[in-house]
């Protein structure tokens, strides 16, 4: 399927860019007219993925994070990529409560939050090369669909 719109953003792995990335993603996705709740879901999931790239991918060294957003008729696909450390065992990393940095007060809930706020989360990673997390969400499946039926 061809996207109806697409954008690509590159930014440095600075923690101040976490807010920047989620604001940009939300602004772009707004074109699909999602509900406020759906938009909040996207902001949260993007924040988790970008924070992971900064903390785990680059381990607080400076690197480049790429965010690609593709809009379809009623859905969005957001790809967040770092060229950092990579993940050895993706299945383990995605388990609730698993964290490789407990001493940094991480709770190991980032992937679980992404999965419960989006429809699907895909992770591709190679140790030493980097990680790409893709977040998928279809809008209008919840509240708004119900409202339309009322008309």
């Amino acid at each position: 399927m061809q996207p109806v719109n697409e954008m690509k953003l590159e930014f440095l792995s600075k923690s101040s860019n976490e807010a920047f990335a989620r604001v940009v993603a939300a602004a772009f996705v707004s074109q699909l007219d999602p509900t406020i709740e759906e938009l909040a879901d996207v902001r949260t999931a993007v924040s988790e993925a970008v924070t992971n790239a900064i903390i785990h991918g680059y381990e607080n060294e400076t690197g480049i994070i790429t965010m690609v957003c593709r809009l379809y008729d009623k859905s969005v696909e957001i790809e967040i990529t770092d060229n950092g450390k990579g993940i050895e065992d993706i299945e383990l990393a995605m388990q609730p409560l698993y964290t490789s940095k407990p001493e940094m007060e991480r709770s190991g809930m980032g992937f679980t939050v992404m999965e419960s706020f989006m429809d699907r989360v895909k992770v591709r990673s190679k140790p030493g090369e980097g990680t790409t997390v893709t977040l998928y969400k279809t809008f209008g499946s919840g509240e708004r669909a119900g409202k339309n039926q009322d008309k």
């Binding site: 923690s15 976490e18 807010a19 909040a40 940094m104 939050v113």
Partner: protein, 114 residues
């Protein structure tokens, strides 16, 4: 992000506003720790009603402070009205450590000595 502190008896109320993410986690951690070591503090209420955003970094901040509150023999509670933040609290399992309330008065009633 901003945190304002007030006291009710031996209970410290930490009222957050703005967005709590990884960028502000360190600041939040230090600010609360500075209040926790004061002798007047026993229990803590984390008032999240002023937050417009929180992700799992906020969970780390709350759980980390909870561990220290317990070490000092205190209890903790959360106030939250935002549905997305509430959902994060629920899936994180943090509600097993600290109860969540919709309003300050309910949280105060649940803690002794407030």
């Amino acid at each position: 992000m901003e945190i304002r502190f007030s006291n009710r008896g031996s209970t410290l109320i930490a009222a957050f506003s703005g967005e709590l993410d990884h960028h502000f986690a360190e600041y939040a951690r230090e600010k609360i720790e500075r209040e926790l070591i004061k002798a007047t503090t026993r229990n803590v209420i984390f008032d999240l009603t002023g937050l417009s955003f929180m992700d799992s970094s906020g969970i780390g901040v709350l759980v980390g402070r909870y561990a220290n509150i317990r070490k000092l023999g205190g209890k903790a509670a959360i106030i939250c009205s935002n549905s997305r933040i509430r959902k994060i609290l629920e899936i994180s399992g943090i509600l097993k450590l600290m109860p969540v309330y919709g309003e300050l008065n309910d949280a105060l009633r649940a803690l002794p000595g407030a």
